[in-house]
Each structure stands twice: as structure tokens, then as C-alpha cells.
């Protein structure tokens, strides 16, 4: 039913989001930028968790790696060009995902969770315990990347609204890319692997290669998010690679609803805004310090009453009578 509307909806949402900087409050614009960045991060993880059936608990590795890549590529008092530093950061993530994927994809289930976590922790300690990225203090990115086209400054990343639009464009691009990929033969094979890996193998699909491609693409897209986050804060430290970060993005995916790209966007919005609200001292006083408690309760409630996440809620509104078993 009204599939035209369903097709148009993402563009309407992007259009509305594009108007957000009219709010004219750098604080809220930055907050929304964070939502967009986390949405990219969550969508990249959803490709693995929701579509390939691989629950990674080390996705922060790629997010953080891209941030550190930017910090290391940026000269001290000069801007680095975004045109090559963003692809380079993505490339580093792709390479790291390819190498780790070759190893972690030999495991399944709980072991996969543990091994992905282990690789992320290894990377955490590489940056934490060596001088490479300023150790536990982290490193500053004093000058944000430049996005020039023949001497003309296309986007000024120092300006909150322009950076917001860049993040929005990249989020839309990520959504579009994943949407296309998942609708392709390749994407169908991934979902097939998630549903019944054994049968896919019996049908002649080289399952490992598909999973590796998915893992690499997922890590690369997480790199976009990590790059943008590093630009936004002008600062990286090992925390961005920590398991807390991996857990947060996994929670966003679950909160939003696994296996729905827009769910990841909704989840990112809910998570970031809720975190902001719950940790507001003016509203919640001493409880604000312990916002994780309230967040935990919220996520438990969603898990209990909305097993398909917030996206499931949206789907219920849209089409009540659709037969069961559509998704698993």
C-alpha cells in the first residue's frame, strides 16, 4: 500500500532536516549534527547486525580509527583537504576491516562478539599506550578540514550550520548507498545468509566472501561517521574506540529496530536526544549524573514492549493488517 509515499518519505525527512539550521542555535545544530553522525554509524552497524546476522561488539574500532586517521593526517596549523583525507580515512578503515574480517569471520555467535570486541580493545590500547595519537590524552585537530573547489570554499566546516548540512548529505548518501546495496542480488544474499547460512552454502554461495564484503563495507561506512565526529569535536582520544562506544551504537541499532535502515536513524535520534535530556542537571538535578540508569530502563522497556524497536512502532502505525512473518 501507498508505496509511493514510502518512497518519498525519506526525501521529505531529509528536506525537513535540511531546514533545521533555521533554528539558529549553534547548540541545537551541533546536537542534531551528532544525531546525524550517530545515524551513519548505526546504519553501518545495522548492515552487519540486522542484514548479515553478525553481531559485532567492536564497531567503535572503525569509528575511532577514522578519527585518529584524520588527526594524524592533519598538519598542526593547517587545514587538510577533505577531498583526500575523507577517502583516505575510509580506506584505512576498509583495510582494517578487511584484515580483521578475515580473522573474526571464522567465528560465529558469542565468539564473534568476543573476537570483534578483542580487536577493538587491541586498537584501543594501541592508541592508549603509545605516543602515536597522544596516548591517553588524545590529540587535537586544531584546524578543521577544508572543502574547496578550485579556490572556492564549498563548505566551511568551522560553521555549525554548514557542517550540519555536510553531515546530512553524507547521512542521506549512506542511506541511499545501503538501500541500493540491500536491494541488489548481493544484499539479498546477505539476508539469506542471516536467515539460513547453512542453506546458502548448500546453494553454492561462497558465504565467507559475502560476509567479508559486508564486514568491510560496514567498517568503511563507520569510518565516515568517525571522521565527521572527529571534525565536530576537533579532538580524538581513546574513548572513541572504547567498548562503551561499541555498546552505544549497538544499543542504537537495537533501540531503532534491527534490519531497518530508517530504524537506525530513529534510534540515533532517540538515543542522542534522550541522553541529552536525561543528563540535563537543570531538569533532573542529581539524577542527571546517573542518566545511564534511566537510559537503561528505557532500553529495557523498548526491548520488552517493542521487540522490533522504534521502527516497529512506526510500522504498526503505517500498516496494521499486514500479515505476520514478513520479517523473521
Amino acid at each position: 500500500m501507498n508505496s509511493r509515499l514510502t518512497q518519498l518519505l525519506p526525501w521529505v525527512v531529509v528536506g525537513v532536516l535540511a531546514l533545521f539550521p533555521l533554528v539558529d542555535s549553534p547548540f541545537y545544530i551541533q546536537l542534531m549534527t551528532k544525531v546525524l553522525i550517530m545515524a551513519i554509524f548505526a546504519m553501518s552497524l545495522d548492515l552487519l547486525v540486522g542484514y548479515t546476522g553478525l553481531v559485532s561488539f567492536g564497531h567503535a574500532a572503525y569509528f575511532g580509527l577514522a578519527g585518529y586517521a584524520l588527526a594524524l593526517m592533519t598538519p598542526k596549523y593547517e587545514a587538510v583537504s577533505l577531498w583526500w583525507s575523507l577517502p583516505a580515512a575510509i580506506g584505512v578503515c576498509a583495510l582494517f576491516a578487511l584484515i580483521t574480517g578475515l580473522l573474526v569471520l571464522r567465528t560465529r555467535g558469542i565468539y564473534f562478539i568476543m573476537v570483534t570486541l578483542a580487536f577493538a580493545q587491541m586498537l584501543f590500547f594501541v592508541f592508549h599506550d603509545t605516543k602515536l595519537g597522544g596516548g591517553s590524552d588524545g590529540a587535537y585537530i586544531y584546524v578543521k578540514p577544508a572543502m574547496k573547489l578550485g579556490g572556492f570554499e564549498l563548505v566551511n566546516l568551522e560553521k555549525a550550520d554548514q557542517f550540519y548540512w555536510l553531515a546530512l548529505v553524507l547521512m542521506a548518501a549512506t542511506y541511499l548507498l545501503l538501500h541500493r546495496v540491500l536491494g541488489s542480488s548481493f544484499g539479498r544474499a546477505l539476508v539469506g545468509i542471516k536467515v539460513n547460512e547453512h542453506r546458502m552454502r548448500a546453494l553454492g554461495f561462497p558465504v565467507f566472501r559475502y560476509q567479508l564484503a559486508s564486514f568491510t563495507l560496514s567498517g568503511s561506512l563507520a569510518g565516515i561517521a568517525g571522521y565527521l565526529a572527529a571534525v565536530q569535536y576537533g579532538f580524538v582520544n581513546p574513548e572513541i574506540l572504547s567498548w562503551h562506544q561499541s555498546g552505544a551504537v549497538l544499543m542504537i541499532v537495537i533501540l531503532g529496530g534491527m534490519g531497518t535502515l530508517y530504524g537506525s536513524v530513529i534510534g540515533a535520534f532517540a538515543f542522542v536526544i534522550l541522553q541529552e535530556v536525561l543528563s540535563n542537571q537543570a531538569w533532573f538535578g542529581i539524577a542527571a549524573k546517573h542518566w545511564q540508569l534511566a537510559m537503561g530502563i528505557f532500553i529495557m522497556l523498548v526491548a520488552l514492549y517493542l521487540p522490533q524497536g522504534l521502527a516497529g512502532l512506526a510500522r504498526n502505525f503505517r500498516s496494521k493488517p499486514v500479515a505476520e512473518a514478513g520479517d523473521e
Partner: protein, 290 residues
Amino acid sequence: MSDKGLPPNPLPKEGGDIGSPGSQAMAGPALGRPGDGAAEPILRIRGLTKRFGGLVAVGNVSLDLHVGEVHVVIGPNGAGKTTLTNLLSGDLPPTSGQVMFEGRDIAGCSADHISRMGIGRSYQKTNIFLPFTVFENCRLAAQSRTPHAFKVFSRAEGYGEINRRATEAMEAAGLAHRAERVAATLSHGEQRQLEIAMCLATQPRVLLLDEPLAGMGPHESQRMVELIKKLTAGHAIMLIEHDMDAVFALAHRLTVMVNGEVLESGTPAEVRSSPAVQLAYLGGEELLHD
């Protein structure tokens, strides 16, 4: 008592119309079957063995599959029939032995590799994509045959050739009218048909069918027997089956396995007249049947 199951036309009971083509099928091999040496078997199994620790699940099994022939493997539960299938399909690596497919030893190759070479299998326990539609199940199976399955940007349904093969497989298995149904909502028999349809959509030359009739009603069974008979022309089929009516309707060659080993192998007539088989297997089975 023993002659009841042994007449040349072994299908006195239900499915009279299976009976006559069945006897034709049996006449085929009797007249001029491609005997050993006459035609190269497409699959030549020699000394295939699988041990699980001290247990010999499959011990020193040798048999040949020829295109145009149904080779039925029977035996009591635990005889190692499904393990044999798993060894041939790559689901399990053999401990020792040879599996020559078109002159190449494929023993120990991965399941996906073996499937791509042209050996398809169906499963005893229905093994399909429950949340997908019947069409998508078959489409995915057909997609596995495209040389460049790694198409990342064009829509999955945009390939006429794949869709056509999926549709053909559904039609062959008698499921075309269920194309848009979600597989989980099919009846047991239809799920078994889907199992075969998916196997066919991969266009195999060798079919390993593991109890395709399990749990089917008489009508569905009969249709499946007809389907397998039709497939015989272009395929080499190894069929594992307990339903004796179907076995004798389809078999060109019959192998009896007991405790992982081949007890007897030959034409159905030869096997039936084997005293060892009568003692060990057919007698017991008949008691079960009546």
C-alpha cells in the same frame, strides 16, 4: 509372505497410475542399462568412509551414479544414508575415500564449491528460508548460478534470466501458484516441494534427494514421484527413501545400507532376490508396512 512385495510390478496399492510408468522405468535398466564400463558414471564413489571418533558412520561405500538413472539408497535408520549424502554434498568432510565427479576427486571440497560444480541436494529436515516468499527462495537459489553474483547496485529482481529459472523451478515442483506466499506459511508437503524447487533452481546435474517424501500425504507423494521420474532424463539422481512403493517405482539401481556399509547393490530385482537383504531389511520393512 515374502512374495507379496516381490512381483515384477511392485505397486499394487495406492497410485495405480504410478505403477505402469514405474514398470517402464524398471524395464529400462533391465533391457540395456548403462552397466559398469558401458558409460562413464558422472559420480563415482570409491571406498568412502566417515568416522566420528570410534563410530564408523559410513564405511567403505562404493557406488556409481549415471545420468538418466535413479540410484536409490535404502536402509534402516542410522544406516548412514544421510551421512553419505552429507559427504557427497560437502556438508561433512570424509575421513577417507574418493568421490570422482567427471573425473575429478571432489572429496573434501566445500559445500558451496560442490554445489557450484553441479551437485545439488535436498534435505531430510526441511531447510528453506522461512521468512522469504516461495519466489524469493527460488530466486536466491537461481541467483547462485550467475557468474557475477556480486552485483551490488542493480536491483535483485532485474535479472530476467534468474527470474525465469526461479519460475521454471517453481513450476516443475508444482508451486507456481504459491509464488508470493511466505515459505513459513506453506503446508509441510509444500515446504518439501519448495526444498526440491530450490535444488532445481541451481540447475544441478546430480541430485541428491534425502527423503523427499518424508511426511507427505499420499497425493503429494505421488506427485513427487512423478516429478522425480520426470527429472531422471537429464539428471543423475541419488534418492534416499523409506517409502517402498516409491522406491520400486523409481529405482534403476538399489543399494541397501546397514550399519554404514553397503549390504547389497544392484538392480531392484537383484537386490530383492538377495537372501541377505530379505533377512536384514526387506522382511522387516514389510512387516512395518502391513
